[in-house]
């Protein structure tokens, strides 16, 4: 149990569907507004009502946003999971519960503090309505936590005002409920506790938002007009948020009509077909899905790759295979997406690590897909997509123009000197000119197909023409490397060993790098932003004797991809894996690396470099 200020983990155990979510968010957001780093995680079942859910918040004064797993404070509101919840608290920690009914004595531990609050009794006294009794219980415990943890009460009341701007009636009762809790805690316990928070002043502006909303805003800003999708956790909220913002920002002021179309398809095959059809016809279209949907979209992804049609696919990964753990997070669709579909295919992948990157990379996906005329898959995951993250605010430059890629207009067709060839590599970069349907009465029409064709889009079974086309697609792949975002380096100081990571593994991996460095183990660190890998990725690997590839899947999928695509010896890239569905922690990464190091030192003696010289 750490008794430090601004450094603890608090977990709320609730029953699904009891209105605890908004109270828990209120709690987390108050800490965020006090300048602390918080990383809330919703741990929820694939079920609508009645099963246990947890909300875990790590609070940190040093800015670390990765998960940490020792629970210092448990707010145990669910009798069903109470036995397990009590066991989870670290020695010296706190268990906050509703003592309106006495606690089962068999559950007691003498190494933690039991803090009983008569929540049900207070609610019975204060409220007549059953629903209110249920809902305000949650707000009351937040009020009590404010006293225990030294949360500024003004921050909480301001949040209530913000939340109920449109329903002013609710402000008074909510603030009152907070006061009830605060008062009870102050009157009956020593408050604040040694574990508590203190405001951190910072000039940096930050937002607290989930990655899926950020992706949706990216699609709005990128000018996506067609969204086709099929509901699946954890991607549904991408399209939900797109719809919310589109209804606010994309209604034609004159006519009241929509400058967007959302089609809920009958399945993911159809969703992908619609995205392909819309992009083919010159609109920016996207879909969002998760693993099972990607499997279904696979045939169509091959068509889009081969017929060279832009596609934006937002994949919010969850734990597979099959239905796997549908409400848990993983990074396990890397290979399925990199090479989706039969035949020789490969796809552009982007790996965001924060909501800000979800926004930026979604916008970039549309530009890249149209520039490269191919699918672009944004690989987020449940952890990033559905949990709130502290992030840099979104930015936009109003002079920014969309890159619609190589598309010929009627005038350009008119002035062409040679006949138009859809698959003619005019500029030698492997990217050919396309035309939208209905551009010119007599010029530029062609037949799009998934079968082999010549540079003029005429069907052919001529093997050499087929090979020429496949080679050109490879040339385009080389060109792609100069368009996709380069990696970023957390540390590149000439250490012997390096660490490679991506997506939501970044926060805990970088924390682990810091902590390892503090104990004398200095590693260099690179975060991958995109596939195909550009030169910087290859160089980083080249410049280190051995590298750890940290990721959240069983098979080391990124490691496999690096080995295959960069021609690295598999022994040079050592996988550090965690795939139980919960976001990996810095602690786990540190320990696994620490355990791996001596073994590697045997293989690569310290002096190996000098001996060679």
């Amino acid at each position: 149990m750490s008794h430090a200020v601004n450094d603890f983990v608090i977990k709320f155990a609730n029953v699904n569907g009891t209105g605890s979510a908004s109270a828990n968010t209120l709690f987390a957001k108050s800490l965020f507004r006090m300048g602390l780093a918080i990383s809330p995680k919703n741990i929820f079942p694939s079920n609508i009502q009645g099963l246990p859910t947890w909300y875990e918040v790590r609070v940190n004064g040093d800015g670390y946003t990765g998960r940490r797993d020792d629970i210092d404070i448990m707010v145990g509101m669910n009798p069903q999971s109470m036995a397990k919840d009590i066991k989870e608290v670290v020695s010296g920690g706190y268990f906050v519960y509703d003592n309106s009914k006495p606690l089962d004595l068999r559950l007691m531990r003498d190494d933690i503090n039991f803090i009983g609050l008569p929540l049900t009794d207070i609610c019975l006294r204060e409220y007549d309505d059953a629903r209110q009794r249920q809902l305000f219980k949650n707000v009351i415990y937040v009020g009590a936590l404010a006293a225990f943890l030294n949360i500024e009460f003004d921050v909480l009341t301001k949040l209530i005002h913000d939340q109920f701007k449109a329903k002013e009636k609710l402000i008074g009762p909510n603030v009152h409920a907070l006061e009830l809790g605060f008062q009870y805690a102050s009157d009956n316990f020593q408050a604040p506790w040694p574990v508590r928070v203190e405001r951190i002043e910072s000039s940096k502006s930050r937002i607290l938002i989930d990655g899926n909303t950020a992706c949706a805003l990216g699609a709005i800003y990128a000018g996506a007009t067609v969204a086709a999708w099929y509901p699946i956790t954890p991607s549904t909220s991408v399209v939900d948020a797109y719809e919310t913002y589109a209804k606010r920002l994309r209604i034609d002021p004159g006519s009241g009509e929509k400058n967007f179309a959302i089609v809920q398809a009958e399945d993911e095959l159809s969703a992908m077909g619609m995205v392909i059809g819309a992009n083919w016809n010159g609109a920016r279209a996207f879909t969002a899905t998760s693993g099972p949907g990607v499997s279904l979209m696979s045939e169509f992804l091959g068509l889009a790759y081969f017929a060279e049609i832009p596609v934006v696919l937002i994949n919010i990964q969850r734990a597979g295979p099959s239905t796997g753990m549908p409400t848990r997070s993983q990074q396990s669709d890397i290979l399925a997406c990199a090479y989706a579909s039969h035949g020789d295919t490969k796809h552009v992948l982007l790996f965001p690590s924060s909501p800000r990157e979800c926004f930026d990379m979604t916008v970039a996906s549309f530009d890249l897909a149209e520039r490269l005329q191919t699918p672009v898959i944004l690989l987020s995951d449940l952890d990033l997509g559905m949990n709130d993250w502290i992030s840099e605010p979104f930015a936009w430059d109003d002079s920014r123009r969309y890159d619609r890629g190589k598309v010929l207009s009627a005038e350009q067709l008119e002035s062409l000197e040679q006949p138009f060839g859809r698959y003619l590599d005019v500029e030698g970069d492997g990217i050919c000119y396309r035309t939208y349907p209905c551009t010119h009465p007599t010029k530029g029409a062609f037949f799009t197909r998934g079968t082999s064709r010549d540079p003029y889009a005429i069907y052919t079974e001529d093997g050499s023409l087929y090979v020429e086309n496949m080679e050109r697609l490879n040339k385009k792949w080389e060109t792609t490397k100069s368009y996709v975002p380069a990696p970023s380096f957390y540390a590149d100081n000439g250490a012997r060993y390096g660490m490679i990571y991506y997506g939501t593994t970044a926060a805990p991996a970088e924390e682990a790098l810091d902590k390892l460095a503090n104990t004398g183990i200095a590693l260099d660190g690179m975060r991958i932003h995109a596939f195909p890998f550009n030169k910087e990725v290859e160089n980083f690997i080249k410049n280190h004797e051995m590298l750890f590839v940290v990721e959240q899947n069983r098979d080391g999928q990124m490691q496999t991809l690096l080995v295959t695509e960069c021609g690295v010896a598999p022994s040079k890239l050592k996988s550090i894996l965690n795939y139980d569905g919960m976001p990996v922690t810095a602690h786990v990464i540190q320990e696994k690396i620490r355990n791996a190091l001596p073994e590697i030192d045997n293989v690569l003696p310290l002096k190996s470099k000098t001996i060679k010289n």
């Binding site: 937002i207 709005i220 800003y221 086709a228 077909g273 059809g277 930015a395 969309y402 799009t448 197909r449």
Partner: protein, 350 residues
């Protein structure tokens, strides 16, 4: 395939109101078997578009996979075409239509492409009332994969292999009617007189227009015992009546005896006139259409003609409330809310 309009034209070559000859509506040379029903349907599409004065580039042709799905290459060479994947043309057509509501969409499919692998997408494109012509070239078999029975093959129909089909057939017109298609017709590739006006009506109909065209496969399903052979269809055809298509601008001159004819005015003002053989048949009555289909089936007849038409249908764009402008024509100015709005969004997450 890029088509160059001949500069010199035979003085007698007919041209339509927008100055195009029939040739301007043709595609590249067909590679289907000689006598394949599908080629006659391509010719009917060419004629319908020519006579309707459609600008070819305003049409998008879409298809799945199969001999039938190859045919968009053989008509409207100045239109963009899309030969997608097996059974998935409806979704691609939906996306294309969402991007630009101002174009004309022709989807060509086969009975395998629609009634088996594509059944799901077919059902849902009907439900959405997508504004398109969806034409099935129905030969009761999988031509391209060498003649296996398809799901529209009639019970006990005998294919070239000589084995009677043990399964009940799926009637695509019946399904389209049940799912709410707003225009449903059946025809025969060998009956151009009937097919061309039906295609014209379908192209002018605002909403989902479905035409199931019996189109014999001469190579795998034209033998004795098959219910999809030329001979069998000719012998068993029953028609609801003659369909006339009168474009908006033309005056209606001929007069029929009352009761035997019925006129339906489409969105664009064109008129579909039905000279009915059965005076009681009402093409606005969905239930009657279903009954009539069942009745003919029981009598072992192949019912053709306009089965159903709802001229007031609401197509998908109307149902979704999208802008009248093609979505693809919207620019940054229309679509991007800009930095000031983004600042406000940032504030709402602080």
């Amino acid at each position: 395939m890029s088509y160059i309009r001949p500069k010199i034209r035979h003085p007698e070559t007919p041209i339509n109101d927008i100055g195009y000859t029939r040739k301007n509506y043709e595609g590249s040379l067909s590679t289907l078997c000689a006598g394949c029903g599908h080629d006659s349907i391509s010719a009917a599409i060419v004629q319908a578009c020519f006579e309707l004065n459609i600008e070819p580039h305003k049409v998008a042709k879409l298809s799945g996979i199969g001999c039938s799905s190859k045919t968009p290459t053989y008509f409207l060479g100045n239109s963009h075409g899309f030969n997608s994947v097996h059974g998935r043309m409806p979704s691609v057509a939906t996306g294309a239509n969402m991007a630009n509501r101002d174009m004309i969409y022709i989807g060509v499919s086969g009975d395998g492409d629609t009634a088996s692998i594509g059944m799901g997408q077919f059902a849902h494109v009907v439900r959405r009332n997508l504004n398109m012509l969806y034409l099935v070239e129905n030969n009761g078999c999988y031509g391209l994969t060498k003649g296996q029975d398809s799901a529209t093959s009639d019970f006990e129909s005998i294919s070239k292999k000589g084995v009677p089909n043990p399964f009940e057939a799926i009637d695509l017109c019946g399904i389209a009617l049940q799912l709410g298609a707003t225009m449903v017709a059946r025809s025969f590739s060998g009956d151009k007189e009937q097919l061309v006006p039906l295609i014209k009506a379908a192209l002018c109909h605002e909403g989902f227009a479905f035409i199931d065209v019996m189109s014999p496969c001469v190579t795998f399903n034209n033998n004795k015992g098959s219910t999809k052979s030329y001979e069998y269809v000719r012998d068993h055809i029953e028609t609801l009546g003659v369909v006339d298509f009168v474009p908006m601008k033309d005056e209606i001159t001929t007069h029929y005896k009352p009761g035997s004819s019925q006129e339906v005015t489409l969105h664009d003002g064109s008129v579909v006139r039905l000279q009915k053989l059965d005076e009681d048949y009402d093409p606005h009555d969905r239930r009657a259409a279903l009954d009539k289909l069942k009745e003919s089936q029981e009598q072992g007849k192949e019912l053709t003609g306009l089965l159903y038409l709802d001229p007031d249908s609401k197509e998908l764009h109307e149902l979704l409330g999208t802008t009248q402008r093609p979505l693809r024509s919207l620019t940054e100015e229309d679509l991007c809310p800009g930095v000031n709005v983004l600042e406000k969004i940032n504030l709402s997450f602080q």
